[in-house]
Amino acid sequence: MAIHIKLNGKTHAVEHRMDILSFLETLKVPPASVVVERNRNILHRGMFDSVVLKDGDELELIRFVGGG
């Protein structure tokens, strides 16, 4: 069964009971390369494997861009 979340503003189907770390793996995004904001809260990187996505979650993956 899949749930639906908003990923960077777009609806995205996700497997039921998937945690943030596994979700980033499915997207092939290295966890240390992004900041994850879930429902307007910045998630500590240490919590990626314990926070499970819920239907309707709004997720923002924010990139590190250091150029100037």
Binding site: E37, I62, V65
Partner: protein
């Protein structure tokens, strides 16, 4: 407030016609003090537009010299400036453009030592540096000194910008936490950057400084604006309230 001269009324006529600026706003700009940290891809357009707008005092901080590979995006410089100090070349250009503006050049990198005294002499800071160490340092020092600033970062065909007024919204550290491990993130030295990306974002940074000085409009506080030039998508990410140690008043993280 000091009256505008006849020449100034002509030079700034298009600013003055904008209802949100007007004569009073122009006088505020002429009395305004903005520090631009980093005179590269972001700093170039920001400095040009601040000087055009008649921001009275502009500090330019950069310890680098102009290199050939800079000219693809750092529009302040020409072939004639190769090997010259960026602060000197920038000062010369901006003075020729608008002699009303007093340029204060600092030919050195922004550090934990020189930063605190420097930022407190300005009304607003534009963070246009090219590395994470400096981005976090400018953030922490501005938050401590309670000086508002505008951050931008660029990479490839992507960029981001946010304005931080200490206490009024998330700061750079609230969002990004700590300096990332170098092997986890790419740099412009590895993946490049298209010149128009800092062009667009440096211009937005200048607009934020002008809005702050004139007290007009709504600043980009508590929001991160991202610019995906490849797909031409601007997005705004709503940020949490201030939540990091620096915003809570912790000692400087260095």
């Amino acid at each position: 407030m000091k009256d505008l001269t006849a020449t100034q009324k002509i030079r700034y006529s298009r600013n003055i016609l904008v209802p949100e600026i007007g004569i009073t706003g122009q006088q505020k700009l002429l009395r305004g003090r903005v520090l631009v940290v980093g005179a590269g891809g972001l700093g170039s357009p920001a400095l040009f537009y601040l000087a055009c707008a008649g921001v009275g005092t502009i500090g330019i901080m950069d310890g680098d010299r102009v290199e050939l590979s800079n000219l693809q995006r750092q529009i302040l410089y020409t072939l004639k400036d190769l090997d010259n100090l960026k602060t000197h070349s920038a000062q010369e250009k901006l003075h020729r453009l608008n002699p009303d503006v007093c340029i204060e050049p600092y030919n050195e990198p922004f550090t934990a030592k020189n930063g605190p005294a420097l930022v407190s002499r300005y009304d607003f800071v534009i963070e246009a540096t090219d590395n994470f160490e400096a981005k976090f340092l400018v953030n922490d020092i501005c938050i401590h000194a309670k000086v508002p600033f505008c951050h931008a970062g660029i990479l490839g065909m992507f960029g981001q910008v946010m304005t931080i007024v200490p206490g009024q919204g998330a700061c750079y550290r609230c969002v990004f936490g700590n300096i990332p491990e170098p092997d986890q993130v790419s740099s412009t030295d590895q993946v490049g950057v298209l010149g128009v990306v800092p062009g667009a974002l440096g211009s937005i940074q200048a607009a934020e400084a002008v809005k702050f000085l004139t007290g007009s409009g709504k600043l980009l506080i508590g929001r991160l604006l991202t610019y995906d030039a490849l797909n031409l998508i601007f997005r705004e990410i709503e940020l949490p309230p201030p939540c990091c140690d620096v915003c809570r008043g912790a000692e400087l993280i260095q």
